[in-house]
């Protein structure tokens, strides 16, 4: 469980998160939405200790993000908005192996994790390809594989559909649903709600650094009325 209590984060005079409290259960599919600048990315970057709280606390399965960052980062995989920001190697398999190598695992275990992660995102055949040769959708899936290789309990994706065309978007969404069915907790940060409300269990809404909505995903039309977020027609949920 990810437990956030009275989390405050400020950048100078700007309060990005204002006493946020929320818990995210194991294996749930959560959509976090809100307009640009509402604090979505800032909130999820606290989930694996990339940002430190100014006040309050964040724990993941009982591990504090400040005192046990490695335990937290192996539990919470993070996929950034721009997949390219996440790549640290030149070939597909080498990039996926990067995280497990940092955990000091033996080579057989690393290879097993790489195979499993690439299989989960349908990129096994591209394992020796150069990352630059992949399409945008494949790069998005590779970024997910890089996080999956850590075998996280939760996968956080920050705007995973940004700049993807429709087939690539659907491909990423299918992979996320498959991972959720296998028990991985999925947290999708997005202001584009097409296709994510149906698989989601829960919808969180943010505005001006406050958590203003927390409801089952099927109540989206009710809770998102006051948020500046486009709500697609139910047929696109």
């Amino acid at each position: 469980m990810i437990a956030v209590e009275d989390l405050v984060c400020a950048f100078g005079d700007i309060v990005a998160l204002n006493e946020i409290s929320v818990t995210i259960e194991d294996g749930s599919f959560v959509v976090l939405t809100g307009p640009n600048g509402s604090g979505k990315t800032t909130l999820v970057r606290h989930f694996n200790g990339l940002l430190e709280p100014d006040a309050g606390s964040v724990t993941v399965d009982g591990h504090d993000v400040l005192t046990e960052p490695v335990a937290v980062r192996t539990s919470v995989g993070m996929v950034f908005q721009q997949p390219r920001d996440q790549f640290v190697a030149s070939t597909v398999a080498a990039d996926v192996a990067f995280g497990p190598e940092n955990l000091g695992l033996d080579r057989e275990d690393i290879e097993r994790r790489v195979r499993r992660a690439l299989d989960a995102v349908n990129l096994v055949e591209k394992r020796d390809a150069r990352i630059e040769s992949l399409s945008g959708g494949e790069q998005a899936r590779l970024a997910i594989a890089g996080a999956l290789a850590m075998e996280p309990a939760y996968l956080v994706l920050d705007e995973p559909f940004a700049s993807l065309d429709e087939p690539a978007r659907q491909s990423v969404l299918d992979r996320l649903c498959a991972l959720h069915e296998r028990g991985t907790g999925v947290i999708v940060v997005t202001h584009d709600l097409r296709g994510v409300l149906d698989p989601a269990d829960r919808l969180l809404g943010m505005a001006d650094g406050n958590l203003v909505a927390d409801a089952p995903a099927e109540d989206a039309s009710r809770v998102l009325d006051d948020l500046d977020v486009y709500l697609p027609p139910p047929s696109e949920w």
């Binding site: 920001d85 190697a89 030149s90 190598e101 940092n102 690393i110 390809a129 150069r130 850590m150």
Partner: protein, 234 residues
């Protein structure tokens, strides 16, 4: 930009330590000899290596075009003197030979970059340079290979963006000033995001690195390296 290209050529399959050792020996031989016959022989050897690595020498030279430009203008500058006879041809020849030695060395270095995964270079360094120094060198090599192509691509995009909005009408100095300022800002931004990604993926100074092992394929390379080094004594 020259980067690692996966492949199964003999050069790809060599142990990275053999390749590093060969590069060192080749550099010693190239810079120890200025006889044109020896340099021609070493050039043939370098071209042979490139052929085995299925890498075009033109591609390497294009990658290093800025260095080539400097090497090309060096001889005429070296030939100039501040007094009579104003132009000393011998100096130009010496400078040209030195430049040529660098070019031949770049060909071999290009073959190394093209055929060696960064992780293997890091493993080779960390295995043989002990302690924190080895870790720093290994990580440094990894970061340079990762960031350099990204930064060069950024500079290209910035240049295109400047030109797309009439930047060609700016003076060269103004254009370079803008390119440098935006490029520097973008470089810091890139470095910040890479640092975040490294932390998110549990960056460690001493990770599990690929296993390195010599094979029979490395023997001729090691013998050749020894020969090149000993050739200095001739």
């Amino acid at each position: 930009m020259l980067t690692y290209q996966p492949g199964s050529t003999a050069i790809h399959r060599l142990d990275p330590r053999s390749k590093l050792l060969f590069q060192g020996a080749f550099a010693v031989a190239v810079f120890a000899h200025d006889s044109l016959v020896v340099l021609a022989g070493l050039t043939v050897l370098a071209l042979g290596i490139l052929r085995m690595a299925t890498l075009s020498p033109v591609r390497i030279l294009r990658s290093f075009r800025f260095i080539l430009f400097l090497l090309a203008i060096a001889p005429p500058i070296a030939a100039l003197s501040f007094g009579p006879p104003w132009v000393v041809l011998d100096r130009a020849v010496t400078s040209a030979v030195a430049g040529y030695q660098v070019v031949v060395m770049l060909l071999v270095a290009g073959a190394y970059v093209h055929t060696t995964p960064v992780r293997e270079s890091r493993a080779a360094i960390q295995r043989h340079v002990p302690g924190r120094v080895g870790q720093l060198l290994g990580v440094g090599v990894g970061l340079v290979f990762r960031l350099t192509p990204v930064l060069l691509a950024d500079l290209q995009r910035i240049g295109d963006a400047i030109d797309a909005r009439g930047g060609e009408n700016l003076s060269t100095v103004e254009r370079l000033r803008r390119l440098a300022l935006v490029g520097l800002r973008r470089a810091f931004d890139r470095a910040g995001r890479l640092s975040l990604a490294l932390r998110a993926r549990c960056f460690a100074w001493n990770p599990t690195l690929p296993e390195l092992s010599f094979s029979r394929l490395d023997v001729p390379v090691l013998v050749l390296s020894a020969g090149l080094t000993l050739s200095v004594l001739l």
